[in-house]
Symmetry: C2
DNA sequence: TTGTAGGCGTTATCAC
DNA sequence: GTGATAACGCCTACAA
């Protein structure tokens, strides 16, 4: 069996409670005694038994994360940010992937409840409404990190997808593009993709361009889906001058397809993405996109969750992280030569 | 307070022990009673208190994962594979990023021990020897998933980095390249990068090419480091005909730099990577590389760990996952035209 | 300032 | 088949 407090107490020649006090930095213990205990702890390499502590205190310093498709670069960085900030604040992470299936989400939620997690970060986009009612019922502090949740009781941290999509479409329109095609996320995605869609519609309306649903091809945020969506677009709408893929990976797929067809980017068709993943700087042509920081998103999510757990006052439970339009090489003004400069426009925060 | 077994027992009109038996599928309980209990469980939406169970049984169904740089596509897929297979086998995951720092690794190891994890997957490459001695001392089942560990007591699952690197260098040599430059991983990486280096040396020797250490530039597996390493290479060795970056992201960085210098890939310089991430198919030119499946690696790691935990017999505690040379567009034979076909050569495993 | 004792929610060992 | 009851290791009144 492992070393327990009892062993430490015996070695230090004090009682159990004294050991406990020392371990919990209770001030009411003589320095001399504390040192004795510390020495015993080190000598025995004592490690607290977390289960016993949790059982007793009902608080675990454990945060649950339920996500889906976290291998996408943007989300991988989100997870990294979550982990770093959670560690910083003394939480450990228990992580589950739902594959976007409600049953798995539900399942993880139960497991996490059983483990008495202090709070939970949800990154799912499909069945979030069902999830919310479970979470509310369980009374677990929760922060959504994958989109805007209108329910006033629920906290969320997210990029402003509506504004971001608006910005980049406006940019295209101002560059003279009117014949634009779009690659959405999965129709099951009720958050980011829907929000970006709203931003697009808004920008189109203000530029006096008719909204044509048939110009929105469904993708699934992978390279491959961008590639095949591009094929459909080129076949159905040979006159497009610009394509907006709702994330960078799909935009990369688009660019690949266009190259194979000897269609020049940006001379023939401009291509833009969303997210601003690192890769976008290195493909050719470098990708014009809306940049947001997944890492930052993760960090802010934990920050907010921590406040909720500690019942601190929260000014606003809907938080937007900054985004910016980054113009690189994959876009140009209609009937103009390409400019290769990287320009940062419109940095909101 | 939450619903406990006591509440269930009361509602079902049975004793605590009976409830426990039902929950643990003990056969020695009358069907009738079992149903009564089940109903009470559902009615109260009873969830077991995991801490109490762990405290009592000393087994947690929890697997710890300590990694670093997990946002890299290959490793993100590894994590995905780990998660999927762990879930499948009834484990939950507790995940920590060490940033490649020994102190953080050590710290997570302690936290995980306190949580009574059943086993641990280590994906770190720097201080693994120090980690190993701690893990051994803690007597926790462990599987390494980031390289070959020679210690016969330690299990590992990994791609055959030596053979993979050998294969791709041999391929370059057979295509007539003798003037090759290399971009290693960080010198701190004592596993994958070192192993690939060994494979390279072997292939060079067999092709009768002198090993010149100055032709090995240190990178850190990022796009950016590939980009800047390429710059150094072109300046120092203007006559190279091929560059082998030790992972795909760096290879993408190389290709970007070469394009900016109007150096044609593969006509002027062939470029190869390692890992076979999805992206490699979509950049232009598509990347020749050694492909291995991170997902598969994760899956096999959990499979092995599960066996160790259950004290099942293990035939071989060193497992290699398959790799294959995938020839795409970024390489050609010296003094020949590019071929654009994707060819799978040498699928071992 | 320190020690004693009860209980957190389970499981396991006894009896019945 | 079922039911008491004693741990598991820790925290926390309360007592000293």
């Amino acid at each position: 069996m492992d070393v327990t407090m009892k062993d430490v107490a015996k070695l230090a020649g004090v009682s159990l409670s004294t050991v406990s006090r020392v371990l919990n930095d209770s001030s009411l213990v003589r320095e001399e005694t504390a040192i004795k205990v510390q020495k015993a702890v080190e000598k025995l390499d004592y490690q607290i038994n977390d289960s016993a502590r949790i059982l007793r205190t009902n608080t675990s310093n454990l945060i649950g994360v339920i996500g889906a498709g976290m291998e996408r670069p943007f989300l991988a960085n989100l997870l990294k940010g979550i982990e770093a900030e959670a560690r910083e604040r003394g939480y450990a992470l228990i992580y589950g992937d739902s594959d976007g299936e409600f049953e798995k989400e539900q399942n993880y939620l139960n497991i996490m409840k059983q483990k008495k997690i202090d709070g939970i970060i949800l990154i799912t986009t499909n069945y979030y409404n069902d999830l919310l009612s479970i979470v509310k019922n369980y009374q677990i502090p929760v922060v959504f990190a994958s989109g805007y949740i209108s329910d006033p009781e629920i906290s969320c941290v997210t990029a402003d997808n509506v504004a971001g999509a608006y910005d980049i479409v406006e940019y295209l329109c101002q560059a003279g593009h009117r014949d634009i095609a779009f690659i959405k996320g999965p129709d099951l995605d009720l958050l980011a993709s829907q929000e970006r869609l709203r931003g697009v519609k808004l920008a189109l309306r203000l530029s006096d361009i008719e909204y044509d649903p048939s110009r929105f091809i469904e993708g699934d945020f992978t390279f491959e889906s961008g590639y095949s969506a591009a094929k459909k677009i080129i076949n159905k709408f040979p006159d497009v001058t610009a394509i907006f893929a709702f994330n960078d990976e799909m935009a990369v797929g688009v660019i690949r397809y266009l190259k194979e067809q000897n269609i020049k980017v940006p001379e023939d068709i401009s291509v833009v993405g969303f997210d601003g993943i690192e890769l976008g700087k290195y493909i050719d042509p470098a990708l014009t996109t809306i940049k947001q920081s997944g890492y930052q998103l993760g960090l802010k999510s934990i920050e907010m969750l921590n406040k909720i757990i500690n019942q601190e006052k929260i000014e606003d439970n809907k938080v937007f992280i900054p985004h910016e339009l980054v113009v690189r090489e994959s876009t140009n003004k209609l009937n103009e030569l390409t400019t290769n400069k990287e320009v940062v426009k419109n940095n909101r925060g």
